[in-house]
């Protein structure tokens, strides 16, 4: 039955226009940014590596597809929480407000199964969106600027060969997806309490904002709690390009995100299963 419910949820999501907003944005925005990077390559190179020009001689340009993808993802990843709330914000609250639960929940299906089908669809949507974001960026950037070695800053200058880059993007994508899933499930939790789809988005983004602020403000108490907040890992993608990759941070991120995700899903489920459908 769960497979049938997931099938239904996918149909509901696929036929909604809002589902495609994030994909449309990514599809349009990334080529524009890559073009802008290409157009301003020299000036960008000067800005990024200006200080190093005294120590290094660059022949040609260090701007290539891999660097462009790296920069695009690093910049846009902080905005992805917003896109990851588009579907979960409405997936439960939308059915409350439109009254479609009066149709759906009167069938011989358990609320648990309905809830978990929605959890699965949020997982599918967020994961596809994040993979699309990462690998579309990489693909378009490489297509327009060509491949090349990636120069990043980590304890100085780190030069990563072409062969050493793709798996790092993949690793970054998996863990960024984990963080976005946690945010999406937070939004799903709010969706189970709300009667409209705006409140869950605002609530989720507010929490992400506060969490991110805690990560950036260098106060002892904040530094103490930051490792336990999922919001502190929004830019974990950058760590995939360190040498060596800090495994302990990735493991910590995995545990923190899983615990928060479990809590969000549990509270959301308990609320959903008890709630009277009177709307």
């Amino acid at each position: 039955m769960l497979a049938k419910l997931i099938h239904n949820e996918l149909i509901k999501v696929l036929y909604k226009r809002r589902t495609y907003i994030s994909f449309l944005l990514i599809t349009v925005l990334i080529p524009v940014i890559v073009y802008a990077i290409d157009y301003g390559a020299v000036s960008l190179q000067n800005k990024i590596y200006g200080q190093m020009q005294d120590s290094f001689i660059f022949i040609g340009t260090i701007i290539n597809g891999n660097l462009a993808a790296y920069l695009i993802i690093a910049i846009l990843i902080t905005h992805m929480p917003f896109l990851s709330t588009i579907i979960p914000s409405e997936i439960i609250s939308g059915e409350y407000s439109k009254g479609t639960f009066r149709l759906y929940l009167t069938r011989s299906i358990t609320r648990r199964a309905v809830f978990f089908s929605k959890v699965m669809v949020v997982f599918i949507y967020t994961t596809i969106m994040m993979f699309y974001f990462f690998f579309y960026s990489l693909f378009i950037a490489n297509l327009m600027l060509g491949p090349g070695e990636l120069i990043v800053f980590h304890k100085g200058v780190l030069l990563l060969s072409e062969d050493d880059v793709v798996w790092r993007f993949f690793l970054g994508c998996i863990f960024s997806n984990l963080v976005m899933l946690t945010i999406a499930y937070l939004c799903l939790l709010f969706s189970s309490f709300s009667k409209n789809s705006v409140t869950p988005i605002i609530s989720t983004i507010s929490i992400v904002f506060v969490g991110t602020a805690i990560s950036f403000i260098p106060i002892d108490i904040f530094e103490l709690i930051d490792p336990y907040l999922f919001t502190g890992y929004i830019d974990i993608f950058l760590l995939a390009f360190y040498y060596p990759v800090p495994q302990e941070v990735f493991i910590q991120c995995l545990l923190v995100c899983l615990i928060w995700t479990f809590l969000f899903i549990l509270v959301g489920y308990l609320n959903f299963s008890k709630r009277d459908i009177v709307e």
Partner: protein, 298 residues
């Protein structure tokens, strides 16, 4: 009363300090059209949401064919088709897609979607988005979704609400047809006419309480109200007044609504009006009287 397909015993529900339902008890006979009659806010809709599990926190007992129904017995929902309040659908999907979604989570013996759409006269518009449907079409689609898993009992909350006269006639015809197919129908309404035209049995809800179940046949039998349809209303009025047996309640469109002091047979009226051309004499259910009496008792 024939076999009781559903029985409700002491169903109560309250929201914080508001009592929505207080010890509601009644039985629904098999293959009946059972009306729950009540004013707005009388607790009808709250009651209708209890059976399908939309409202979880309530007390009381429900029996199906004499067997106690557990609160979370979702298997039993296969036997019920629900249309709760205004018809709501995934408006961005077509009628067919909506039914496919519901069919997918219904038991394997679901009816053919084309057959259902034909039954509710929506086949020609089945590929249109529901957002383009009129209220009446949505209401018919609501009935279609009720029927998709071929349930034995239909629970319809205000099925005629918001429909135009043609829509109401279509709905009445449809509900009567469903009864002839062997289904039991439980509907809620605030419209006395709906109950008179459709229902075989009914109960009245007032302020969260209900009257005992009454059959429409019995109600008509017990009624002392008659309606006389005649060309010559003036002469008929005079004769009826002079008879001292009947009290004139109202006169409208060649119709005279009368109430007898005692139980009278049709022959007595015929006798009094023997030399006047009468089109029709019929006994009225006098539901309004029953409704008022229930109001006074609650």
């Amino acid at each position: 009363m024939s076999n009781k397909i559903l029985s409700f015993k002491n169903i109560s529900k309250s929201y914080s300090n508001i009592i929505a339902l207080e010890k509601i008890s009644f039985d629904i006979p098999e293959n009946s059209i059972f009306g729950i009659l009540g004013a707005n806010g009388s607790g009808k809709s709250t009651f209708m949401k209890i059976l399908p599990g939309l409202i979880q926190d309530w007390s009381g007992e429900i029996f199906h064919n004499g067997k106690f129904v557990e609160k979370n017995n979702i298997k039993l929902r296969d036997k019920f088709g629900y249309l709760i309040e205004a018809p709501t659908f995934y408006e961005y999907l077509s009628a067919r897609k909506n039914l496919e979604i519901l069919s997918r989570i219904s038991p394997t013996h679901s009816l053919d979607i084309d057959y259902i759409l034909e039954l509710v006269n929506l086949k020609s518009r089945s590929e249109d988005k529901v957002s383009a449907y009129s209220y009446g079409m949505k209401q018919r689609l609501g009935i279609a979704q009720c029927l998709i898993h071929n349930p034995e009992i239909l629970v319809l909350d205000e099925p005629n609400n918001g429909l135009d006269p043609n829509g109401i006639q279509d709905m009445i015809k449809l509900i009567k047809n469903l009864r002839t197919e062997g289904k039991t129908i439980c509907l809620s309404t605030h419209n006395l006419r709906d109950v008179e035209e459709l229902c075989t049995h009914f109960t009245v809800f007032q302020h969260g309480k209900n009257s005992k179940t009454c059959s429409m046949e019995q109600q008509i039998k017990n009624s002392k109200t008659w309606i006389v349809n005649t060309q010559d209303t003036d002469s008929a009025l005079e004769k009826l007044k002079n008879s001292d047996i009947f009290e004139i309640i109202s006169v409208f469109n060649k119709n005279i609504l009368i109430e007898s002091m005692e139980m009278q047979s049709l022959n007595v009226i015929h006798e009094i009006l023997s030399d006047i051309e009468i089109y029709k004499i019929s006994k009225e259910s006098n539901l309004i009287g029953y409704f008022d009496a229930s109001k006074a008792n609650s």
